[in-house]
Amino acid sequence: MAQASTISKSAPALTLSGISKSFPGVRALHQVNLSLYPGQVTALVGENGAGKSTLVKVLTGIYQPDEGAITLDGKRVTLSSAQTAFELGITAIHQETVLFDDLTVAENIWLGHAPRKRFGLIDWAAMNEKARAVLAQMHAAHIAPETRLRELSIANKHLVAVARALSIDSRVVVMDEPTAALSAKEINELYDLVALLKSQGKAILFISHKFDEIYKIADRYTVFRDGEQVGEGHLKDTAQNELVKLMVGRSVDKVFPKHHAKIGDVVLSVSGLSHPTEFENISFELHKGEILGFYGLVGAGRTEVMKALFGMTKPSAGTIAMDDRPLAITSAEDAINAGIVYVPEERGAQGLGTGLPIFMNVTLPSLKRTSKSNVLRLKNEFDLARRYTERLDLRASSLSQDVSTLSGGNQQKVVIAKWLAMSPKVIILDEPTKGIDIGSKAAVHEFMAQLVAEGMAVIMVSSEIPEVLGMADRVIVMREGLVTAGFENKNLQPETLVRAAAGIE
């Protein structure tokens, strides 16, 4: 630690000063300053919508700032394109890697700066050899340079992205929530890599929502709120509470809201639901006013079961009944009409009509109600959208704002508002707080408590144990397409869930 503070006196590798960036109706960054020091990890924290993603895009040359200066090794630079940023030695590792699935590992590492032979032809042998060397240096020799990227896990894809950063003598490495999609073991391997990059004197910007990991690997922190920098310093002098306070501008005392909803009759009962490849013999009952947690490892088949309930996957056997009446669900339309709605895990791909305004996204399933014999009534639509988005405290400049310009947490609020407007009986939330900031997380949890208090039944698929233990009344654990255990959430221990999910007797 003493060593870290001596290094910080050295000149920063990269300095941003007075950077501002605006989009129509949104001020994404305002007069932001940031310094990254060689051999140090700076953690960037902030709620969703604080401007972190915009900053990453400015750093990697995708967005041009409206004002402000960027200095790299004491020289003023203009990052006019992603290519320029890369050539200047700024590389980025994203949450979901932006590499090319159909190219080989070596091609991905050397894309744009491949070793050449005469006539500018690519020297394949040298490229593979150099790729092997870079991977070996990272203790990732198990990845063959000739493999197509498609065949690798997300963790290994991250390794390739890091190898790409090492292949050019990069000065600055930006890591945007690199551990969001990784398992515990893979996360540790990634930490080793961060240490390796540090030891090579690279300046690292590390974006994460996980405080334990920030404290584990970062030296410095900088906090963003609503597009402005509200604090920075050394992590060792700063308590976790202080960071949280800076992030949200208030203290978050209650992590999970207590809910005392009255649990009523069975509303949904699923029996023997099976699918040829994804899941088998799934049976459970869901009561009014209940939050039923579905816990399991990624790939346990939870999402597939939910998709079957929502009519997006066709089950091969089994029955679904609501209020004791059997349901024949063959499409999402059927499910919605029966009162079952689904908030998907992949918000962008499955939940939103990106490029279209907030109010249209909210009213899409409710159009029958807001229109008059299929003729649109805009006033009804605005009223309906406003009622539900304001209830969720959506942060936006207007109801006509394009949903793709919203932060992840606010996009989630739009998706939830869309379904609340349908007054469903059962709402399925698939990883409802994945990748969203603490403030929005609390809002979503608070809201689930309200929903069950109003007599709705909630199914919550979650891979986060604190969330499952904090919110669910009962927990069903799935493993490899089967229900392996069911628990009442009374004195339930995290270890019990982990063992059931991993299949440890």
Binding site: M312, G353, I358, M360, V375, L376, T389, E390
Partner: protein
Amino acid sequence: MSSETIQHRHLPDRLDKPLSAALRSWETLLAVVAVAIFIFNSFASPHFLNAWTLSDMTFNFTEKAIIALPMALLIIAGEIDLSVAAILALSSTLMGFAMQFGLGTPALVCVGIIVGLICGAFNGALVTGLGLPSIVVTIGTMSLFRGLAFIILGDQVYKNYPDGFEYFGQGYVAWVISFELVLFLAFAALFGFLLHFTTFGRRLYFIGRNPVSAQFSGVNVKRMKFILFCLTGVMSGVASVLLTSRLGSTRPSIAQGFELEAITMVVLGGVAITGGAGSILGVVLAALIMGLVTFGFGLLNVPGIVMSIFVGMLLIAVIALPILWKRFVWVLKK
């Protein structure tokens, strides 16, 4: 989050004033261009500013524009139909074939439209039923439908359509106002209403932007796409009635290249070729511009081949122009 900390912010409906948004729109630019070409034409030829000349001018685009209307909906929904001209040809051929059995005008019109419907439904079934990409399916059916027309007709010509049939393509509702123009404007109003003021139209934009999320929101994407292909087929049948009536004869090569001009109108009209954006007003203005330009070239005695080069260049330019226009607006806003 205790209840007193929740202060609901009021979200306004929109920030832009509708008028200023309208002034910056692509449609405004199209209208300005249309007026400019109109003025140019009136200087280029002393005969241009004559009611009958202007009326003749409209025949340059009405039939293609009638196809461009459903095409706009199809492209907004993320699909395309390249077989429209071939549908028109097959429909015209079968009308001629049916005429030989002594069918009257109303029956012939029905034949034309029903053939269009069947062709459109065939395209729609292949795209939605088998999940094939529409660009491939309709390149296939483009050859298929026109090939059928050639088999039926060979190098023959159908002529001598019954009395009254000529009204659709040659008749005037009043003074210089042709039946074709009135029919086009009526359809434009109908399609504009369908796209901009109904739940069907709203769902189209969602399908074009993100078909998966539309499906996750309970939109029956396949059914809607199937309906659109049928609609495009029907409108191609309608255009077939108009064109056959105007020419008074059918050859299998009828309406060669119409699909490209219809698509050019749609794209020039500001419909995103990637789907999810566009307006009928834009398509109508684009049709008018195409008509004015074609006619202007005619007035200037520009050879047909130059015309074809121009349409090709226009198609490329209109893909590039919206992008440049957006950048221009972006700079203006800053």
